[in-house]
């Protein structure tokens, strides 16, 4: 089975995110395959949560579209099981603690493993609270990705030392969403992280253009793009195939520069 590390082996990674079930589960299944074929190195599959406190408007709206027509965690796992054999790159899920906790952390991780998902990203689970998931995740060979933010400062060492899979370096203050400029000195945050860990570091939040992706990949091991992808899907609905393919190709080319 693929591992998160495969996404970063001898290359800079391009990591797209999409909200499962937006606009339909069939479309998500197709889009995962399209993005993998277009050069994505790792895909983050968002399990929508009704009240996503770390998301900006674009992903909030996608969440609402998905949940409104009845998306469930089980249906997402079923979809991943269908698409998994058709692609080779690693897949991770991104969701909030409550959907995992209420589903049952052990049951959730078991289904991740069965579906061929190799990691989880949980933005409302900081370092101090990761005990609620980490042991059950490891019991099913699921890696738990840590986030580091511009405000982390002296917390960086503590978090990075225990990092696994990859470190999700948050580029900017605030919530997810496309930004014209990334003003944080994110390169220096990555340098600090690298002092404590050999785990790859990818940068996310605010990245939408190939130029931004190239700049972020230059100072790290990869670029994560969420809202820009979700916005394309929002605009094209279930006819986003071509637009997504072209976008992912351009972004992958940019991170390889």
């Amino acid at each position: 089975m693929s591992k998160i590390a495969d996404a970063f082996t001898n290359k800079k990674a391009f990591i797209p995110f999409l909200t499962a079930g937006d606009p339909t589960m069939e479309a998500t299944e197709r889009y995962i395959k399209i993005m993998a074929d277009a050069g994505a190195d790792l895909i983050e599959i968002g399990i929508p949560f009704s009240d996503p406190v770390a998301e900006g408007p674009v992903i909030q709206e996608a969440t609402l579209r998905s949940l409104t027509h009845g998306t469930t965690t089980d249906a997402i796992f079923d979809m991943v099981e269908r698409v998994r054999p058709t692609i080779s790159i690693p897949l991770v899920v991104m969701t909030y603690l409550n959907p995992i906790y209420v589903y049952g952390a052990d049951r959730f991780m078991a289904r991740c493993k069965k579906a061929g998902i190799c990691g989880v990203i949980v933005p409302d689970m900081p370092f101090e609270e990761k005990g609620v998931l980490i042991d059950v995740a490891h019991a099913h060979d699921i890696e738990v990705v840590s986030l580091i933010a511009p405000t982390s400062e002296e917390r960086i060492g503590m978090i990075a030392k225990e990092a696994e899979g990859f470190v999700y370096c948050v580029s900017s203050m605030g919530v997810t969403g496309v930004r014209k400029e990334i003003t944080t000195d994110v390169g220096s945050i990555v340098d600090q992280i690298k002092r404590y860990t050999d785990v790859p570091v990818a940068i996310g939040f605010g990245i939408s253009t190939p130029e931004q992706a190239a700049a972020m990949a230059k100072v790290s091991d990869g670029a994560i793009v969420g809202s820009a992808i979700v916005r394309i899907i929002g605009e094209h609905g279930d006819k986003a195939d071509e637009a997504l393919r072209e976008y992912v190709k351009a972004m992958k080319a940019a991170v390889m520069f």
Partner: protein
């Protein structure tokens, strides 16, 4: 782990039994740790305490009265009913108790800007008031639905110099206002303090709000002992997030002879989907920074909730209430819109006191149980706020349109 100290509430790690915690994005971790550190530093600082007490006495008007509701007592024919008159505080509710403490703390921390969520608008008004008094900027986040049903409070906040942001995400009520205030805090944290209005959210907020609200029960306990010479049989308070209730309960928690009763909003009934009765109908979850109970579905999606009362219209409950519920120390009961509106009218006519519709939930349950209790027993109802803000909505509920 050492045993839970039920009297002192949260230990340093912010847990109440299994409940509580700090489930926030990494971007906010240093901010909440900074608040925790500052609070622990200042809460016992003589200058801080003196400044807060001065404001409580000379600005809020504390101590608030413990009023013997003699007509209501006689009419119901059972236990003696006392009202803890938080409605008489400056700004008209208990919310000022907490916000003066938190804004003083924010000022000590060097912050210049207060952000706050509000449901009915009472916390927003209190925050705007404290910010005006203490020279801070203030921005309040309020669900669009609540800005419509509490238009008067929106104007009050603006009059006090605050900026009010209408929240149009989700159900456009208190839950969404909390989410949006958390989002705003992640955008701008350096100069900004999040003055949480209820006993919810990540540690240390449930502890801070509890501590600042516990003055309610500290006074009430002394007052009832002076009036009756013994402890009350029960204390009652309405519960949304649970700030007035935890304040009303706190000093009675160790007195196991005193029943603690929290009154949740049952809306159109707990057998409908239109209620906000978290402990009657919810289950354990992790949301808004805390491990507690929430109204949600089998996949952990937070459910839309409903109450006629904007202040109780929240799908969760503070972690200390979750603990008091799970341990059996406190009892939580559902009260419907109809019962609350009846109580709103009853207290107005019987005692000449118009309660907030939130507080009317506690009055309603007191009306049910008082006749079943002995005449030598007493009970205290926390009258958490006054009802002027609700008059137009109550008239509408009865089919009467009045021009505001």
């Amino acid at each position: 782990m050492e045993a839970m100290n039920i009297q002192g509430g949260a230990k340093q790690d912010g847990r109440y039994g299994e409940f509580g915690g700090q489930f926030v994005p990494e971007t906010l971790m240093n901010a909440i740790l900074e608040v925790e550190k500052a609070y622990l530093q200042y809460k016992d600082d003589p200058d801080f305490i003196r400044e807060l007490e001065n404001l409580q006495v000379n600005y809020t008007g504390r101590p608030s009265l413990l009023y013997y509701a003699e007509k209501m007592t006689k009419d119901l024919g059972g236990a003696k009913i006392y009202l803890k008159r938080e409605d008489l505080n400056h700004t008209g509710s208990h919310k000022i108790n907490n916000v003066l403490g938190q804004v003083l703390l924010a000022k000590r921390m060097g912050k210049t800007r207060i952000i706050a969520e509000t449901g009915a608008g009472q916390h927003g008004v209190a925050a705007a008031t404290a910010a005006a008094l203490l020279g801070m900027e203030c921005e309040v986040f309020m669900g669009k639905e609540d800005t419509e049903r509490q238009a008067l409070n929106v104007y009050r906040m603006r009059l006090l110099g605050a900026t009010v942001h209408e929240v149009t995400t989700g159900t456009m009520t208190l839950k969404d206002a909390v989410s949006e205030t958390l989002r705003e805090w992640t955008r701008r944290v350096d100069d900004t303090y999040y003055a949480m209005g209820s006993a919810v959210g990540p540690h240390p907020f449930p502890m801070i709000v509890r501590d600042f609200q516990s003055i309610i029960s500290k006074e009430a306990k002394e007052q009832i002992l002076a009036a009756e010479g013994k402890l009350p049989a029960a204390v009652l308070a309405c519960v949304g997030g649970g700030s007035n209730a935890i304040g009303m309960f706190h000093h009675f928690v160790p007195e196991t002879s005193v029943k603690l009763i929290g009154c949740e909003a049952a809306g159109r009934g707990i057998d409908t989907l239109e209620h906000a009765a978290t402990l009657a109908k919810g289950s354990k979850g992790i949301f808004h920074g805390m491990h507690s109970y929430f109204v949600q579905n089998e996949y952990g999606q937070i459910a839309p909730v409903y109450s006629i009362s904007a202040g109780l219209d929240y799908p969760g409950i503070g972690p200390e209430h979750a603990y008091l519920h799970a341990s059996g120390r406190a009892e939580y009961v559902p009260v419907t819109d109809d019962e609350a509106v009846d109580a709103f009218e009853y207290l107005s006519r019987t005692e000449g006191i118009i309660p907030a519709i939130e507080s009317a939930h506690a009055v309603a349950y007191a009306m049910k149980i008082a006749p079943t209790m002995k005449k030598d027993e007493s009970m205290i109802i926390c009258l958490s706020g006054r009802g002027d803000k609700d008059v137009a909505a109550m008239a509408a509920y009865r089919g009467i349109q009045i021009d505001e």
